[in-house]
């Protein structure tokens, strides 16, 4: 699913990832480590949001630097700050926004002309309604997105990611701003086996332990990879108390 060979990522003068090599094939993978250890950079690298300075990256058989369109189609990303992920003014519209690139492709809309035909608004509306229902947001469909609570906003961000039925979801600290109840709800949605794979960068060690595999990052390097329980125990043992 994910293969990195000797990957270095330099952001400005900082080497955020140094000579990282990984070969991961599991349904759920947690990435743990201290702040600044490279977790988020690794997640962003896999999502194609930062380029590798050197080395090779392969995600679902794709090169994030070259196969951008295909990667966007198959990979969804959830960030820690839901406010930055909300684009449209109402809940239903924001979920539908994720389908715009696909809708535009199927309708043949290009910047220089519109050709009708193909998947229509009814199909999109059905998919949006189904997704809102799945994430418990159906009753809030017409509510202003930015008026939602933090937990509801993160559920909206998840709905926006899952409505595209991605093969891989990359989540970077998705529960960081949430209370225990909402963190649990978001975690259940992420970990549910609905046909997607998950890469989860998190400080929540309880959540990381529930993944199949885990990667331990430290100072921009991968310190260990293995069964999630073992890696979390090892990381916990390295903490000062």
């Amino acid at each position: 699913m994910i293969r990195l060979e000797d990957v270095t990522v330099r952001i400005g003068d900082v080497e955020a990832l140094s000579a990282v090599s990984l070969d991961l094939d599991a349904r759920t993978v947690a990435v743990v480590g201290d702040n600044g250890s490279g977790k988020s950079t690794l997640a962003r690298l896999l999502a194609g949001l930062v380029p590798a300075t050197s080395g090779s990256v392969c995600v679902l058989g794709l090169d994030p630097a070259r196969d951008v369109a295909e990667l966007r189609r198959r990979v969804a990303v959830v960030f820690s700050n839901p406010d930055a992920q909300i684009v449209m003014p109402t809940v239903a519209e924001d979920v539908a926004f994720s389908l715009r690139p696909r809708e535009r492709r199927s309708r043949g809309i290009r910047s220089r002309g519109i050709r009708r035909g193909g998947r229509g608004d009814a199909g999109t509306a059905g998919l949006v309604a189904q997704t809102l229902d799945r994430f418990g947001l159906a009753a809030l469909a017409d509510r202003p997105s930015h008026d939602l609570s933090g937990g509801q906003k993160q559920l909206l961000a998840l709905a926006g990611a899952f409505v595209r039925r991605p093969d891989l979801v990359i989540a970077d600290e998705p529960t960081a701003f949430l209370d225990a109840r909402n963190a649990r709800i978001v975690a259940e949605h992420l970990l549910a086996d609905t046909g997607h794979r998950l890469v989860l960068a998190t400080h929540d060690l309880g959540l990381a332990r529930r993944c199949d595999l885990a990667v331990l990052c430290a100072r921009g390097r991968v310190e260990a990879t293995g069964e999630a329980g073992e890696i979390v125990t090892r990381y916990r043992a390295s903490l000062p108390w």
Binding site: A47, F79, Q85, V87, P89, S98, R100, G160
Partner: protein
Amino acid sequence: MVTLYLPGDGPLHRMPAGAKLVLLVAAVLGVSLLPTAPWSAAAAGGACVAGYLVAGFHGAHGLRELGRQSWTLRWVIVLVFGGLLIFLGPMPAALNTARVVAAVLLAMLLALTTRMTALLDALERGLLPLAVLRVDPARVALLLTIAISTVPVMIRIAHDVREAQLARGISRDIRAFAVPYLVMALKHADELGDALAARGVR
């Protein structure tokens, strides 16, 4: 003001966004171009009342919604009336203010009865002729949408920064406000860019 859409099933809700945009622009222009006279102010007010009555909002009477929207404009009304009063006198100021407010309320009907996605599509189609000038209609429409939906975030950031300043005992210091505000706004722009890219917007 940022998210005005109210669900409903009246003729305005059912009308295609493009046609509604043209109709409301024509109505706003008509109201704006009328001469300053009591009958024109009455006509502008009448157009407004008729528009809100036929809108067919769910769970809200048209006239009540008209009152609510007028109340949100109270400071605009005061400013416009006050400004015109100085230069034109009470009667022309009242008549002109009535027309300006009617024009704004009619324009608000578009946002009240049209989802942003429908507006985005209509805007994109409306801008298509500009493609010959190498303007990307989709990009322009998206830019406008993002600008509108970012307003509440910027307000929240300003509020957060203000609260943090007060908590540290700083009451009025422009620089102490501007620096963290700009940093947070730029950080938000960065994150929004990533989120848009992740959602397939290039």
